[in-house]
């Protein structure tokens, strides 16, 4: 009896009582699906009938699938544009916003607000801004002597239009992270550089940017992960179109799993994407370690 009581009062029971419910949910909706998904990628299954074991067939089919190849290319192009544009833009905006002048709160808020605007709202707004016939962007372009441009409705412009609207929605995120980091840079350091005769540009290039190295590395990794997982914007703005012009990896995966019911094949794509993201992250970390210097 005494030992039962002791066990009940022990840390083990308390620990599991506290963590148990959360851990149960994490296992059920996190760990189990990860393993199940791996198993599924070796099966032929349509979510309805009993799955059939096919070994590596899904992965082999993947390497010969032209639409998968195209989706990968689009994802890579998108990531290669989105990551540098949003991060460089975010850095420049943060530097401009990092000063104590009248109304600075409002300027910052203008950059922050799009971050909380949902994807569907963003897409609806940009479909309208980019409307080929009545859109205000084409009107502005026509006043400047350009256009009209098809934007999301043209195969050549759709992917770039998606880059544009996601940069608008995300740049505030980079600005917030950079602003927080910039405010951590000691003012004396910048003053010293100014006394030594460094100009604005020199200070930015030789002092600010290197000091922001760790934050930039984080943003590069984080933005790349998110860019490779692009889905909502494509689904909502173009459904992968026109034609297959904006098919990206996750859109293709969704299409396969939930429209065509090829779940095993889709699971194989999910795992390839997951591994690609892991590899890219490790590569970025290794390169980053050489380039980025952490202050002690």
């Amino acid at each position: 009896m005494a030992s039962v009581r002791k066990a009940l009062q022990s840390d083990h029971a308390a620990g599991w009582a506290f963590a148990g419910p959360a851990v149960f949910l994490i296992v059920l909706f996190g760990v189990v699906p990860i393993i199940w998904s791996a198993v599924m990628s070796f099966q032929r299954t349509n979510l309805l009938n009993a799955p059939e074991w096919v070994g590596l067939a899904n992965y082999k089919a993947l390497s010969k699938d032209p639409l998968f190849k195209q989706s990968v290319e689009h994802s890579v192009i998108y990531t290669a544009l989105f990551v540098p544009i949003s991060i460089t833009g975010g850095l420049l905006a943060a530097v401009a916003l990092n000063r104590k002048i009248r109304g600075i709160r409002w300027y910052r808020t203008a950059f922050f607000v799009p971050v909380v605007v949902s994807t569907i709202a963003t897409v609806i707004i940009f479909l309208w801004l980019f409307d080929p016939t009545y859109g205000i962007v084409n009107w502005i372009l026509s006043r400047l002597g350009f256009g009209p441009v098809g934007f999301l409705e043209s195969s050549s412009g759709a992917l770039y239009s998606i880059v544009g609207l996601t940069v608008w929605g995300w740049i505030g995120f980079d600005v917030i992270i950079y602003l927080a980091a910039l405010q951590g840079i000691p003012g004396e350091l910048l003053e010293a550089a100014e006394i030594d005769g460094a100009g604005h540009w020199g200070i930015l290039r030789n002092i600010t940017v290197p000091l922001l190295g760790p934050v930039t590395l984080f943003l590069v990794i984080y933005s790349s992960i998110n860019a490779l997982q692009l889905f909502d914007e494509v689904y909502l703005a173009t459904r992968g179109g026109p034609g297959t012009a904006t098919y990206v990896v996750v859109f293709y995966l969704y299409d396969l799993a939930f429209n065509q019911g090829v779940a095993g094949y889709a699971a194989a794509i999910a795992y390839v994407l997951f591994i690609a993201i892991l590899v890219l992250t490790v590569v970025q970390l290794v390169i980053g370690k050489r380039l980025v210097h952490y202050s002690s």
Binding site: A19, I34, S118, I120, I225, Y235
Partner: protein, 300 residues
């Protein structure tokens, strides 16, 4: 469920030391000094805000005004009726209620369950703690797409497909919340808890009477993050909900867009209504939003 749980920020502990880039602001009140930076910042801020202004302007136009080129920059009169029309044509109030229910449930669930688990991982030594914690962290690294199909099948087996339960149950605990609160609890001085323990307080008593009251900012940040994730989530509701009456605001808005693609004015009015709650929360709880973003990446 959110697909932004990939990589936590530099370190959650650091994140609490991060400055909130809104608080130190406004310059000392002295004579007016014009800064040339206004000439840079004003146009930039205008470009950022223009899409939202244009959305609001269009939401007050007549259908004919939206079908004019060059665009009508100022509507002839304010068509408030657009908003009424949206409410008549779509179960907006229902979508709003659904989203509110789902959001409230997941925020409450995460605050409670992540507090309990976070505290256990931070302060209680129990069998298997390290392994289980690593498991929790591992799920944080896996993108949503990897788990979405099996999660769908599990939720289907639980009989939750096409119910609000499908949106609530799998999100009652996010690994991120456990991780964040664990990191935060570890920064609190342990002496207070030890003193309470000597006075005979139970673990639960310590958590609720000592630890949580000291954790206001962390809990508020977690609540805001979870709120925004759930409120703006799209892919998971898209996959699990089919009946219009069970849709969330985002999913409903997407179907509304499909049905009224050419009624731009109504679409924009619907859009404005969907944004109002989040924008109000943003302005009320701005510092927690900013901290939430600086901690994690709030964006879905």
């Amino acid at each position: 469920m959110s697909d932004t749980r990939a990589v936590p920020a530099p370190s959650a502990e650091d994140a609490f030391r991060i400055r909130v880039p809104l608080e130190d602001e406004e310059p000392p009140k002295r004579r007016f000094l014009f800064s040339w930076w206004h000439l840079v910042l004003l146009p930039l801020a205008f470009v950022m805000i223009l899409p939202l202004i244009w959305m609001i302007v269009t939401s007050f136009e007549t259908l004919n005004e939206t079908r004019t080129f060059p665009p009508v920059l100022l509507p002839h009169s304010l068509q408030w009726s657009n908003y009424g029309e949206v409410l008549r044509q779509a179960p907006f109030a229902q979508w709003f209620t659904n989203t509110l229910v789902v959001t409230t449930a997941t925020v409450a669930g995460n605050l409670l369950l992540c507090s309990l688990a976070g505290y256990a991982f931070a302060r209680i030594k129990f069998f298997g703690r390290e392994v289980v914690f690593l498991l929790v962290l591992a799920t944080l690294m896996v993108p949503l797409q990897v788990v979405i199909i099996p999660t769908f099948l599990i939720v289907k087996r639980l009989g939750l497909i096409d119910t609000l339960g499908a949106l609530i149950v799998p999100s009652l605990t996010e690994a991120f919340g456990i991780f964040m609160l664990r990191q935060f609890f570890r920064t609190l001085p342990i002496e207070l808890e030890e003193a309470a323990r000597i006075d005979g307080a139970s673990r639960l008593g310590i958590l609720f009477k000592i630890v949580l009251p000291l954790s206001g900012p962390a809990l508020a940040t977690l609540a805001v993050i979870q709120f925004t994730w759930t409120w703006n989530d799209f892919l998971w509701p898209l996959v699990t909900i089919f009946s219009p009456n069970h849709m969330t605001l985002q999913l409903g808005l997407a179907t509304f867009q499909g049905a009224h693609a050419s009624n731009t004015n109504l679409l924009m009015a619907a859009n404005v209504m969907s944004l109002i709650p989040v924008l109000i929360l943003f302005f009320v709880a701005q510092r927690y939003f900013i901290r939430g973003i600086a901690t994690t990446g709030l964006k879905g």
